[in-house]
C-alpha cells in the first residue's frame, strides 16, 4: 500500500472512528450511572439526523437545523428516560433492558410509519462537501471537521465531568446511587442531564453520519449503534476516554481491513462483534476500564 492510499484511508478511518466515538460516549455514560445498555441510543442518533433533515427541509439554515436536531434528540432522550426507564429504577435489570429494546423498536417503526422506509438524501451545505486535492489525496473538508469537532466535544465532556459540580455528581452517581441520594443530590435530575448529554452527542454523530453517507433512513441507527456499543466495551465501558479510543480503533480497523483485504468487505459489519467477543474473552474490562463493578469515568 503506498503512502497516498495509506493517508487517504487514515483520514477516512479517523472520520468514521469519530462517529463511533461520539455515539459510544453516550452508551458509556448511561451505562456508568444506570448500568443499562441503552438499546435505544442508536435510534436517538437516527432521530437527531431526522430532526435536522426536516428542519433543513423547512427552509432553516443548516446551522440552525443542526441545533434543532441536537436539542430534539436530547428531548427525546430525556423523555425516553422519564417514560421507560425511570419507573423501573428499582426493578431487575432485565426489565430495563426489555423496555429499552421496546423503545428502540418503537422509534424505528414510528419513523418508518411517519416518513417511509426509503432512504432520504441528506444534502450538506457546500462548504462541508468541498473536496481538497493535496498530493493525490482527496480530502472532503468534512473528514477534517468531523475528527476536530469530536476532539473538541471530548474536551468539553471531560471538562463537564471533572471541573463542574454536575460532573462531580455524575461521577458520584456512578459509584453509588443510594449514597448520592442520601447526600441530598437529586439523582433523577443528574440522570436526566446524562441522557441529555449522551443523546445530544448521538445526534451530532448521526448528523456526521448523514453528511458522510449522504442519506438517512429509519433503521440507520441499529448497526451503527451496536458497533458504537462494541467500541464502548472495547475501550472499557464506563470510561469516556475509553469510548473515544475504542471508537477510533474500530473506525481505523474497518477502513484498513477493507482497504487491504477487499474480499472481506462484506464482513465489515461483523468486525465490531469479533472485537467484542475477543475483548470479553481476554480483557473483559476493556482497554481503559478498571473493575467492572465500580463506577468511573
Amino acid at each position: 500500500m503506498d503512502m497516498q492510499i495509506f493517508l487517504q484511508q487514515l483520514v477516512n478511518g479517523a472520520s468514521l472512528g469519530s462517529m463511533y466515538a461520539l455515539i459510544a460516549i453516550g452508551y458509556t455514560m448511561v451505562y456508568g450511572v444506570l448500568r443499562l445498555i441503552n438499546f435505544a441510543h442508536g435510534d436517538i442518533m437516527m432521530v437527531g439526523a431526522y430532526f435536522t433533515f426536516f428542519a433543513k427541509a423547512a427552509g432553516l439554515p443548516f446551522e440552525v437545523a443542526v441545533l434543532i436536531g441536537i436539542i430534539g434528540a436530547a428531548v427525546v432522550g430525556i423523555l425516553t428516560d422519564k417514560i421507560a426507564y425511570k419507573p423501573l429504577r428499582d426493578a431487575p435489570k432485565i426489565s430495563l433492558l426489555i423496555t429499552a429494546i421496546g423503545i428502540s423498536f418503537f422509534l424505528e417503526n414510528l419513523f418508518t410509519v411517519l416518513f417511509g422506509s426509503t432512504p432520504k438524501a441528506f444534502s450538506a451545505p457546500d462548504y462541508l462537501t468541498k473536496i481538497f486535492h493535496i498530493h493525490g489525496i482527496y480530502l472532503p473538508i468534512s473528514v477534517i471537521i468531523i475528527p476536530t469537532v469530536t476532539l473538541i466535544i471530548l474536551a468539553v465532556v471531560l471538562w463537564i465531568l471533572y471541573k463542574t459540580k454536575y460532573g462531580m455528581a455524575i461521577r458520584a452517581l456512578a459509584f453509588d446511587i443510594q449514597t448520592v441520594k442520601l447526600m441530598g443530590i437529586d439523582a433523577d435530575r443528574i440522570i436526566m442531564i446524562v441522557f441529555a448529554i449522551g443523546s445530544a452527542l448521538a445526534a451530532i454523530g448521526g448528523i456526521f453520519y448523514a453528511i458522510s453517507y449522504p442519506s438517512i433512513d429509519p433503521l440507520m441507527g441499529i448497526i451503527v449503534g451496536l458497533k458504537a456499543f462494541a467500541a464502548a466495551v472495547l475501550g472499557g465501558i464506563g470510561s469516556v476516554g475509553g469510548a473515544v479510543v475504542g471508537g477510533f480503533i474500530l473506525g481505523f480497523t474497518e477502513i484498513f481491513v477493507v482497504a487491504m483485504f477487499p474480499e472481506l468487505g462484506g464482513y465489515k459489519d461483523a468486525f465490531a462483534f469479533f472485537f467484542l467477543i475477543l475483548v470479553l474473552l481476554f480483557k473483559p474490562t476493556g482497554i481503559m476500564g478498571q473493575d467492572l463493578e465500580r463506577g468511573r469515568f
Binding site: 448500568r35 417514560i83 423496555t99 423503545i103 422506509s117 466495551v233 467477543i277
Partner: protein, 337 residues
C-alpha cells in the same frame, strides 16, 4: 384420577385435534395454525434460556437461521440446487448433503446446538447486559455470513423451492414434544439448578452447582429446538432469505415470553396464541385506515409500533406477564402449608 393417565388422555385428545385439523380445516386456517405451532416451539425453547435459566440472550434468530438453512440444503434436490445457485456454483458439500425430512430437521437442531456449545465459552463469561449484546451480535453475524457465502447459502437471494414437507401434523406433534421436554427439564434436577442460577448465581455456585455447565445445557437445549423450529419454518414457507432472520424475529419471541410470564411454559403457549393471533388480527393496521371518513392511507409498520408500545406498557405495569413464573396447573392446586 391418576395423573399419568390424565396426561396421556390430554395428549391423545390434542393429537386427535391436530389430525382432524390437518384433514378438515381450510388452508388459510391451517397456515395460521402452522405459524402458531412453530412460534410456540420457538417461544418454549427461548423461554428455557431466558425465563428458566435467567440468561437474557437475544440470539434465537441466529439459531433459527442455522436450522432453517441446514434443513433447506438437506431437503432441496441436487438438480434444483444446481439451477438455483445463480451467483456462484454451489460448494460440492452442499450438493452432497441430502436427507429425509425428519433427519433433516434433527440435523438442523443438532447444528444449532453445536454452535450454541461453541458460543457458550465466550458468552457465559459475562452476565446480564453483556450477554444480551453479544448474543444480539451473534444473530447479526449469522446473517452477514449467510449473505457473504453464496457458495453455501446462495447469498442474499436465499433458497427457494424447498420441498413443503412440514404440515400441521408434523408441527403440532413436534410442538407437543417440545412442550413435554421443557416441562420435564423444568421439574428435573437440571431445571431446579437452572432456576437457582437465575435467582442467585453466586449462591447457586456456593451450593456446588456448576453454573457454567447449567447455562450451557439450557443454551444448547434451547438452540436445539430453535434449530428444529427453523427447519420447520423453512419447509413450511418453502423459501428463505437471510433477511427473514433479522432481530424482528427475536423481538416477536421476546414479546411472547414476556407476555406469558418469563419462566412459564404454559404462559408461553397461551401468549403465542394471543400474539400470533393478534398479529393476524391487527393486520388491518398495516392496510388503509379510514377514520371518520378521512383516509389516512396505508402505514406499513403500524402493527410493530403497536406491539412495541404493548411491550413497554407490559414491562411498566404488568412486569410478571400473564402467569408470572408459574405454570397453569399451579393455579388450580390447593395451597399446601
Amino acid at each position: 384420577m391418576n395423573k399419568f393417565l390424565r396426561n396421556i388422555i390430554l395428549i391423545a385428545i390434542t393429537i386427535y385435534f391436530i389430525y382432524y385439523a390437518q384433514n378438515h380445516f381450510d388452508s388459510y386456517t391451517l397456515s395460521i395454525l402452522d405459524n402458531i405451532g412453530i412460534f410456540a416451539i420457538l417461544a418454549l425453547s427461548y423461554n428455557l434460556i431466558n425465563g428458566i435459566a435467567g440468561q437474557f440472550s437475544l440470539e434465537p434468530n441466529g439459531f433459527v437461521a442455522i436450522g432453517a438453512y441446514f434443513t433447506a440444503i438437506l431437503l432441496i434436490p441436487t438438480d434444483t440446487k444446481l439451477d438455483m445457485f445463480a451467483l456462484v456454483d454451489p460448494a460440492p458439500i452442499i450438493l452432497q448433503m441430502k436427507a429425509h425430512f425428519l433427519p433433516a430437521i434433527l440435523i438442523g437442531g443438532v447444528a444449532a446446538s453445536f454452535v450454541a456449545l461453541l458460543l457458550s465459552f465466550p458468552v457465559f463469561r459475562v452476565r446480564g447486559d453483556y450477554l444480551a449484546i453479544v448474543t444480539l451480535g451473534f444473530g447479526f453475524i449469522i446473517r452477514i455470513f449467510a449473505i457473504n457465502n453464496p457458495a453455501y447459502t446462495n447469498g442474499a437471494m436465499g433458497l427457494n423451492d424447498i420441498p413443503e414437507e412440514a404440515n400441521f401434523l408434523w408441527i403440532g406433534i413436534i410442538c407437543i414434544v417440545t412442550f413435554l421436554v421443557m416441562i420435564h427439564v423444568i421439574y428435573s434436577k437440571f431445571g431446579r439448578a437452572m432456576k437457582s442460577v437465575r435467582d442467585d448465581e453466586d449462591a447457586a455456585s456456593a451450593m456446588g452447582i456448576n453454573t457454567f455447565k447449567m447455562k450451557t445445557y439450557a443454551f444448547m437445549t434451547s438452540a436445539f429446538f430453535e434449530g428444529i423450529g427453523g427447519g420447520l419454518l423453512a419447509s413450511m414457507l418453502t423459501t428463505i432469505t437471510p433477511d427473514q432472520f433479522s432481530f424482528l424475529l427475536t423481538f416477536q419471541l421476546l414479546i411472547i415470553i414476556v407476555l406469558g410470564g418469563l419462566g412459564s411454559m404454559s404462559g408461553a403457549l397461551i401468549a403465542t396464541i394471543l400474539v400470533m393471533g393478534g398479529m393476524e388480527w391487527l393486520r388491518f393496521l398495516d392496510d388503509d385506515i379510514t377514520i371518520f371518513g378521512m383516509d389516512l392511507g396505508a402505514h406499513p409498520g403500524m402493527r410493530m409500533v403497536v406491539f412495541a408500545i404493548l411491550l413497554i406498557v407490559m414491562m411498566l405495569f404488568a412486569r410478571r406477564g400473564l402467569l408470572g413464573d408459574r405454570e397453569l396447573t399451579e393455579f388450580f392446586k390447593k395451597k399446601s402449608k
